[in-house]
């Protein structure tokens, strides 16, 4: 199955690969997927007290489309507010990367990773406030 040029570009030159300090109260970590399913995404967002995503890093175990989907969302969410990031839909990823039907689950996983990272950040804040 041929990959789109955009998938190949993100796969060959992935943006924002790496890790942020998990313990940092401003960092939310989302790990979604399962090794047994062939995809695991770790997305970390560094969020200001004002709720703006100032940095994003990812690591992904998965096929080219999974790697490209996670690379793409790290680019997209940087500079976004948390509320705006929560509205990101997997369909936008599908469209941007031109993913075929069998690869839609990769985009769903990337959307879930954003939500999981933000949820982790909110949990940390709530714990701090409480």
């Amino acid at each position: 199955m041929p990959y789109s040029d955009k998938v190949i570009d993100h796969y060959e030159n992935p943006r924002n690969v790496g890790s942020l300090p998990k313990e940092d109260p401003n960092v939310g970590t989302g790990i979604v997927g399962a090794p047994a399913c062939g995809d695991v995404m770790k997305l970390q967002l560094k969020i200001t007290d004002e709720g703006i995503i100032e940095d994003a890093k990812f690591k992904t175990f998965g096929c080219g489309s999974a790697i490209a989907s996670s690379s793409l969302v790290t680019e997209w969410v940087k500079g976004m507010s948390v509320d705006k990031a929560m509205e990101l839909k997997n369909t936008a990823i599908v469209e941007e990367l031109n993913l075929p039907p069998v690869k839609i689950h990769c985009s769903v996983l990337a959307e879930d990773a954003i939500k999981a990272a933000i949820a982790d950040f909110k949990k940390k804040r709530a714990a701090r406030a409480g």
Binding site: C37, V40, K42, T60, C63, A66
Partner: protein
């Protein structure tokens, strides 16, 4: 010497047509176009003689007589004809069939069809090395067992089954059980003889042995006579077992391919084993956490199947874009289930997703092996840097202790 890209290393999927085979076929694709069933003129006689010569060439490799070969469109058809044809003919004798979980889909799906038609099928498990033991098969034989279907060598992990011992054990338990061997991957690569192995039916394919696509054969024993009901009716070709005009150029190529495989088997097998062992040794020396799937001892010369833990197979294949290999990961299929063959060997799902099959063949060189090793080492290292699982593993996290969100 610089290697030419892309490199083809998927020889269990198909093989390149040997130029010597094409040369043998050319007259029958051009001037000698007769129908082998035409009895009234020289065009037909020439075609028939060419087919008969090919029968002899194939029988010389496979054992038995060329007259026992029924030509088909390929091994999928041969396997369907063997299983459905024998099941139909011997249905009064019984309705139980035995096969193995790691068989090719042609066998498994034909068996599923037979189950719908009222037959009972036992799907035997395999050992961790991918082989099935004679006792396992014999123990599964019951009073109304009519047929056992077992592959000579597995297409994914290369494991070679002890066919002769299986046939002997089965016949000792019940004399009239027929043995069908899907010999597609093994024939021409390793010694196999239908007479010595005491099988009754054997399926083979030309394109897995440097012959053309679209032609295969089913060997059907004549002494004692094995009967099958045809699944394609028509002009009564191939002694009524498979009607349809013979693919004369394809069959001529099949014959030549068999002749070459026989003549070069010992030397070529040893060469492929050397390349395979070099590939494995170099990869294992340079990449930690790699696992061989299947048997090292009882294995096809040209097959190597390795799991690269923490790196997903399809992602790795994308990085190896100038090398044609295949993966047991099923990221492209709708099911997301990894290879059923690896699962049957007891390979965990997470490792099954990281497997790559390297299929070496006649046209691969040591230089290509070295190129592939270097590329694999580079890319696995890069993808592990990208892998959250590798990071966790480095941090000493036990991945099995994590509750994953399956999707």
């Amino acid at each position: 010497m610089a290697v030419k890209l892309p490199i083809y290393m998927d020889n269990q999927a198909t093989t390149q047509l040997d130029p010597r085979v094409l040369e043998a076929m050319m007259p029958y694709l051009t001037t000698q176009f007769g129908n082998a069933a035409s009895r009234s003129h020289s065009f037909g006689w020439t075609a028939e003689a060419a087919v008969d010569h090919a029968r002899d060439q194939i029988a010389s490799l496979l054992g038995g007589s060329g007259k026992e070969l029924v030509f088909t469109s390929g091994a999928t058809e041969s396997i369907n004809l063997a299983l459905k044809g024998a099941a139909a003919f011997y249905k009064e004798r019984g309705k139980h069939i035995i096969t193995v979980q790691t068989e090719h889909k042609a066998t498994l799906d034909a068996c599923k069809r037979l189950e719908k038609d009222g037959y009972r099928v036992t799907y035997l498990p395999v050992e961790q090395d991918g082989r099935v033991m004679p006792k396992t098969v014999a123990d599964a034989v019951v009073e109304d067992t009519i047929l056992v279907s077992i592959m000579l060598a597995n297409n994914e992990v290369g494991s070679v089954n002890p066919i002769a011992e299986i046939a002997e054990a089965v016949k000792r338990k019940k004399k009239d059980v027929l043995i069908h061997c899907d010999a597609v991957q093994g024939v021409g690569k390793i010694p196999f003889d239908v007479e010595k192995s005491r099988v009754d039916l054997a399926s083979i394919s030309a394109h897995k042995m440097y012959g053309p696509k679209g032609v295969g054969a089913l060997w059907v024993r004549r002494k004692p006579r094995v009967r099958i009901e045809p699944i394609i009716d028509g002009g009564g070709h191939e002694r009524g077992m498979r009607s349809g005009t013979l693919n004369v150029p394809g069959i001529v190529g099949f014959g030549k391919a068999a002749e070459l495989c026989k003549a070069e088997m010992a030397e070529e097998g040893a060469r492929q084993v050397r390349m395979r062992d070099r590939l494995l040794a170099e990869i294992q020396a340079q990449i930690p956490e790699t696992y061989v799937n299947g048997s090292l001892e009882h294995r096809l010369p040209g097959n190597m199947n390795i799991s690269f833990a923490f790196v997903e197979g399809e992602g790795l294949m994308m990085a190896l874009k100038d090398v044609a290999v295949s993966s047991g990961s099923a990221c492209t299929s709708a099911s997301l289930e990894p290879s059923y063959v690896l699962r049957a060997l007891g390979v965990g799902e997470e490792l099954a997703h990281t497997s790559i099959r390297f299929g070496l063949g006649r046209f691969n060189t040591e230089e290509e092996v070295d190129y592939v090793v270097k590329l694999v080492v580079d890319k696995v290292t890069r993808l592990r840097e990208l892998s959250p699982l590798w990071e966790m593993h480095q941090e000493g996290v036990d991945l099995k202790s994590i509750e994953w969100t399956a999707h």
